[in-house]
Symmetry: C2
């Protein structure tokens, strides 16, 4: 720890169990004092160490400036902001924040760093709010680190009649994701953007979701963009796929839309992993290319698929393999980033076994369905690799169908997190993505996939939070957890309240890790830590609403303003 932090420590009253700072996720190291500080009406952010700063860094600073002005979250106490009038009056005035890229650091844009190889990212930053001078400081080794620090800085301030203040200066933060930077940080949102419900989520909805994701430092959007019901993705090599396979021309993500979404995400520190789910869930391809799809919309659907309508690519057909190769190549070529998924969930054997063309192809080539599946997976994984990307695949392809995959494949464990061990035993990296989505969305089971020992007081035992389990012990490196948004259960009408603030719970699980900055376990059998998280999650929720995201309330406001008084044991 740097000498100046040690000096700062000497004059700090460290509030161990009750941070009154509305930060989510809570930083790895957080020291707070008891002095008030406030932003000058002319408060500015100055960038150092970047003579020609990347445009997205400048834009990030501008967004922070703007939010510092427009955010109006009052402290969630009785009387709200007016309770702090005296403190605000005597608060030290901060005139600026100096944001510095540490000397010797590479000068890259946030987007470049976000889409770089996952083991090359440095998101660390150091942030200091003094109580004895007028300038706050932010230092990082990367543009991405500066972004993370700015995001935290925005959350330090409450509003009262336009004045932005904190009661806890000096504040010192040393922060970075809990997992080693050599391992990809594991918090991601899954957006099934091909909403089965009502066409696709409008682009504006996705951008708003990306904004909110960046506010809680989520770093990956897993974009399940095509599905059985529609093909809403414009593909350069096959424009007919969306022309005929989407619900309507208005419900298509054009190449421009995709570029816009990916750029928007990358500039906010979010990498996009696009999934082209295959060979199952591909019925919508049959609208343009019926020759490539077996059992398309065959009845009864429940015999041939896990959801209607049935339909799978004809994996034994050389023509279909060629089609898949071109499809993946066309999409991969247009995407930045180093990750791409071929999906692979829920393939159905009777679909192929009863498909005359597939049966004929298998016989002609003297291969089995398993052989064909292997060949298909090798083909699409090969294309993904050719484009310099790490391939993702769904766990059932590996575990149920025993398909050999490339060594650096990332397996999405989506059925039950108990599968993680089996995947890890094959020395494959994995992502946890709890599949009990119905409960996630509607029954709010915070204990799903958690051990009994972890049940005690997960975030205070509130029932509307999702907490994903950090990857458990296994041989391969953990790749992490996703909060899936299954859009079968959602539509643009309820996107925000379904997702927020629930998604934020997982963000802290994976950013902050197992230990709170005061050294106590984040999930300890200690009511205080749970209450503490709940209070901050309330603040996050109110801040999200303030910023236009329709996050649902977690408790009656009476309880919000009186932390702990609504606990069942109080």
């Amino acid at each position: 720890m740097a000498a100046h932090i040690l000096r700062a420590l000497a004059c700090l009253v460290v509030v161990f169990l009750s941070y009154a700072v509305a930060i989510w996720p809570i930083p790895r190291t957080l020291l707070t004092g008891t002095s008030p500080a406030k932003l000058s009406p002319n408060f500015g952010i100055n960038l150092h160490g970047l003579p020609s700063p990347p445009a997205d860094v400048v834009a990030a600073i501008s967004r922070t400036q703007s939010r510092l002005r427009s955010d109006s979250l009052e402290r969630l106490v009785l009387g709200r902001g007016s309770a702090d009038v005296q403190e605000i009056g005597r608060a030290r005035l901060l005139t600026s924040l100096t944001a510095t890229l540490r000397p010797g650091s590479p000068v890259e844009s946030i987007a470049e760093e976000t889409t770089a190889a996952i083991d090359s990212k440095d998101e660390s930053y150091e942030l200091s709010i003094p109580d004895d001078r007028g300038v706050a400081t932010l230092v990082a080794n990367s543009s991405l680190g500066l972004l993370r620090g700015l995001t935290t800085f925005e959350q330090l301030w409450y509003d009262h009649k336009g004045t932005k203040y904190t009661l806890e200066a000096p504040i010192h933060i040393l922060d970075e994701p809990a997992f080693l930077v050599s391992i990809p940080r594991p918090a991601a949102a899954k957006l099934k953007a091909n909403s089965g419900m009502n066409g696709s989520f409008p682009v504006a909805d996705i951008l708003r979701t990306l904004d909110a994701m960046s506010w809680v430092k989520l770093s990956i959007l897993y974009w399940h963009v095509i599905d059985s019901q529609s093909f809403p993705l414009e593909v350069g090599a096959f424009p007919e796929l969306s022309e005929k396979g989407a619900y309507s021309a208005e419900e298509v993500y054009t190449r421009t839309d995709v570029q816009r979404i990916v750029k928007y995400a990358n500039e906010r520190g979010i990498d996009v992993v696009m999934e082209l789910d295959s060979p199952g869930h591909t019925t919508a391809i049959s609208a343009a290319h019926p020759e490539h799809v077996a059992c398309a919309a065959k009845s009864p659907w429940s015999k041939y698929a896990s959801e209607p309508p049935a339909g799978q690519l004809r994996i034994a057909s050389r023509s279909t393999l060629s089609f898949a190769r071109t499809l993946f190549s066309s999409v991969a070529a247009a995407l930045p980033g180093t990750m791409m998924s071929s999906g692979g969930d829920e393939v159905n054997l009777p679909c192929w076994e009863e498909d005359e063309e597939t049966v004929a192809d298998l016989a002609r080539r003297n291969i089995t369905i398993a052989d064909a599946l292997n060949e298909f997976v090798q083909t699409v994984q090969g294309v993904i690799k050719e484009h310099g990307k790490t391939p993702f695949i769904k766990s059932d392809m590996v575990l149920t169908h025993d398909v050999p995959v490339l060594d650096d494949t990332v397996v999405v464990v989506w059925q039950t997190s108990e599968d993680a061990a089996a995947v890890a035993n094959r020395r494959l990296r994995l992502i946890h993505q709890p599949s009990n989505y119905f409960y996630l969305a509607y029954s709010f089971d915070p204990f799903a996939n958690l051990t009994a020992a972890q049940h005690a007081l997960v975030l205070g035992g509130q029932d509307s939070l999702l907490v994903a389990r950090p990857t458990s012990a296994h041989e391969g490196p953990p790749f992490s957890g996703q909060m899936p948004l299954w859009s079968e259960q959602s539509s643009p009408e309820n996107l925000d309240p379904i997702v927020w603030p629930r998604l934020a719970a997982g963000a802290e699980v994976f950013w902050t890790g197992a230990t709170l900055p005061n050294g106590s376990p984040r999930l300890g059998a200690n009511a205080t830590s749970g209450t503490h998280a709940l209070a901050r999650l309330h603040e996050l929720r109110y801040r999200l609403v303030d910023r236009g995201v329709k996050a649902i309330a977690l408790q009656p406001k009476w309880c919000v303003l009186r932390p702990g008084e609504c606990d069942l044991d109080s």
Copy 2:
């Protein structure tokens, strides 16, 4: 059946199991043909029989005209509106609708009729869309009936590029609520407008909800306006109650707000039953009048209340009785309508037993808590009666606490509908209001409180519908069912998707009754009737979204456009 209907029948192809009309709830009698008809660009509605029409009738016609122009629901088939281009081309042009108040009917406003005694309402109407002439006709015995008919008329039309058309002319409808008009119609929405979550629902949210309620002919808003956490109702006699008991001045329903909401509701055929929940759930009164509240915010709350914070009126105090009398009187005097509720759920005995003032009052007056509770209920029911209103009360007050109530009391059976029989055995009227609200909102159990025989095909077995059980056989007259919206589980952020289209399911249960217009049972063990309801409910949902209500989707659009193909047995 009138002669002209019999004549119409002769040339109709009656489509028994597949109405392609987007009407919800489906009318009691519905005859449809197979000819296309469309509205003229200059289509108008002419009012007959009302030389000086009430302003709210004129306004209702104007709203219908406006919605006929702005509604843009295309038929939910493959190709949508474009599938009907040929039919639209040859469609008969309708130039006007003649709306007639039957000679001899009283000339009253919709609001007057809506707030009249519940056994005096006539909501019947007759609506004809010809296929051989240019004028449609609507006839009713009341302004309220005209409103119901206009509401149905709006739903008959699909849009294609601005042209409003039907494929099923001629259409003849004879309609009225399923229950005898001498019995109040039983579909109501419960709005706990004092949202425990985030203050109160903004007035605009309530008005939007009232609009949507009127579109599905729901006739009662049960307004649970005050609760433990806050007192958001401005009361003439005690302005301090909301000044000190609301979350903030912005989170108060002023008298102007209440008048506006009630007027808005009444003009749309919705009567408002306001509930002043008492003597429990009254903690918020203690902010201004601590002398009237026992165990206010006492810890642990779970010992003294069913939800935090604890607090109940001091029922043994003469001063508190006088306060309650004035409170009820002040609120009742400002409300039209013939119904008002004193609530009465979840009173807690230890709260009073450990309250020194209550113990002293009981001893001084030599009465028991039961005596005091009786006196309290008699007092507030007496005030309600004095204002010419029918008193409502919660079932636990009658069943758990055995409190004698006035003979014409309506009992809200909210804990379990199994209590209905016990209430009916006391010859009291009742409202069903299923209390398994968590499941309602999140697990979508359509079978809750239904007998096994009714399970078979409730609205096709969809899982996101609520179906309340029509009042079962009992001695007293049925008073009906409510769809409760428990705002502990909702906030303005998710009001629409939580409520819609779920609430509409109950509207049909109670408007249409047990029999579909084709004579088959609405809940028969016949998949077709379920599918039929689902298709119409999809249409309602799309129409709600079209009109700005964020109703959630019930199925992927692929399934919506292909009725039946996603059924599990297809």
